[in-house]
Symmetry: C2
Subunit: 308 residues, 2 copies
């Protein structure tokens, strides 16, 4: 490797109908001064074929294709698995053009604002999320990988030693909306500034950070034919990141009846009304708001990756 620092991979369009990040990468290519990065940075469209077709994916959600088993099975011809293998073989930590860090930029139709997602709780991811949370104020969602559910494994970021997902919403699929572009650029600038602080030795972990730990998800109430028969209850002014307490209105049924939340403790919903989760049977995800100490060893790993 002929570079001084670890390298950063910026990915947009892992889902082909989320057009915001690809648009930002396109502008960055046309205007190289935009989004100056403190370390060598490569940009790419995660799923170019789906992006061309303006679809989330062609054969299978690319962001569920990065499992060891799928990557290893060279006989598998699912288009997204082939693409996942290509990305890992090219830009993965042991690839031809190795990168140590990845940022995977997404949008959602949920009114979540901007947030940082870690897939699992690897120390380096948590440390970077803590620094970003401290610098930019974005809420942090710790997604729990469930090996028993193929829908909940095989995420892109897990193939790199350190990687975060950026989520920005609400925005409809298939469009470039300038407000969402600006929110995403602001997040990205925040992450790049944090990485710069890491390189110059200025980064210092906060003593504590607030995180939202994934607990599970709820499907819509459905009838015998699988038809959705409720929507999110309109009596909550804001759904995402706001405590849902036992007894609170949850769903409004087609009959007009209110279904309340029956858990035993408050939960914090996220991804409420994400359009592409219909097929995954997810009306909303539930998290528990928690305070934790960011892992100091994670910062060591991160600094090591940045300086290697």
């Amino acid at each position: 490797m002929d570079h001084q620092y670890g390298r950063l991979l910026l990915v947009g369009g892992t889902h082909g109908n989320e057009r915001t990040a690809p648009w930002i990468l396109q502008c960055r290519k046309a205007q190289p001064a935009l989004l100056a990065s403190p370390l060598p940075t490569t940009t790419c469209i995660g799923n170019p074929e789906a992006y061309g077709a303006n679809r989330r994916y062609m054969d299978r959600d690319l962001n569920r294709c990065f499992t060891e088993a799928l990557l290893r099975d060279r006989s598998c011809t699912i288009r997204e698995v082939i693409r996942a293998r290509e990305l890992v073989d090219t830009y993965g930590p042991s690839g031809k053009d190795p990168h140590g860090l990845v940022l995977d930029m997404h949008t959602t139709t949920a009114a979540m604002g901007s947030s940082v997602v870690t897939v699992g709780e690897r120390p380096a991811d948590l440390a970077l999320a803590a620094l970003v949370h401290q610098a930019v104020g974005m809420p942090v969602y710790l997604f729990r990988i469930n090996e028993d559910h193929p829908e909940e494994c095989g995420f892109l970021v897990r193939r790199w030693p350190c990687g975060l997902v950026l989520e920005v919403g609400p925005v409809a699929q298939g469009i470039v909306d300038m407000r969402t572009v600006r929110k995403t650029v602001a997040c990205l600038e925040g992450v790049l500034a944090v990485l710069g602080d890491c390189l110059t030795g200025k980064a210092k972990l906060p003593e504590t950070m607030v995180v939202h730990r994934h607990l599970g998800s709820l499907d819509w109430p459905r009838d015998g034919n699988g038809r959705q028969i409720a929507c999110l209850h309109p009596d909550r002014p804001r759904w995402d990141w706001t405590a849902l307490c036992p007894g609170d209105p949850l769903f409004l049924m087609e009959t007009g009846e209110t279904v309340t939340y029956r858990g035993e403790e408050p939960v914090w919903p996220v991804f409420c009304n994400e359009a592409s989760y219909e097929e995954k049977g997810i009306a909303l995800a539930l998290t528990r708001r928690d305070t934790m100490t960011p892992p100091a060893d994670g910062l060591e790993v991160l600094l090591g990756l940045l300086r290697s």
Copy 2:
């Protein structure tokens, strides 16, 4: 016919990924007291197969399938053409279960609020639009049919003697968002109240009405490969229904360059950033704001349809 009044057909889900109106029709079925109509009313999902698949359409946009030629060509097996024929044969004015009026309820990803669209300028449509505009205040968009472009003919409402399109936005495709549901219900209540006023003889056309006449549409600037290389300029706080004057910022190119509007007179954009118009090469539609006298003969036709 065993009824006293003309009948109204309420259609939702003409585009299968616009979930708001189907949800309203579903609630109305579960709660018959909702949206009481002053005249015999039938509800239906325009494109049930696309609705089941959560796609705009399967083979062809249903709302471009109602041309005489397609309906007549019984050898044509495009799924949406078969469905169009079925709707006309069943509920059309000469069908088995004839209806004189139709309301076709849509949503858009454009931030247009609620509006009424007439396809063409038939007097009865204009009269009903004028009454709705007067009662509810929704802007009226007079879409011009261009027989030379198949993308601009074959609309559902044209197969009924009188029919309006309701458009509500912004909302992402594939979700039921309660704010959009409420806006749509409010429009629908307004239209039903107007029809009630017509039946009781209370309806009186306004002397003038403001309309937005379709002039044409603009595609995105594209590169040689057809790739979109500009987005709507962010320096306008509101795009839809707001005058765009010669010299105003129009597109922001990927290079950062601003492209201004070069027309010779002000225009009023609508359907700015409608996600499903990407494939039609429409970034936004342009209209001319105009004041007109609603046609008195249109009201006569409308009253005739309601009382027949």
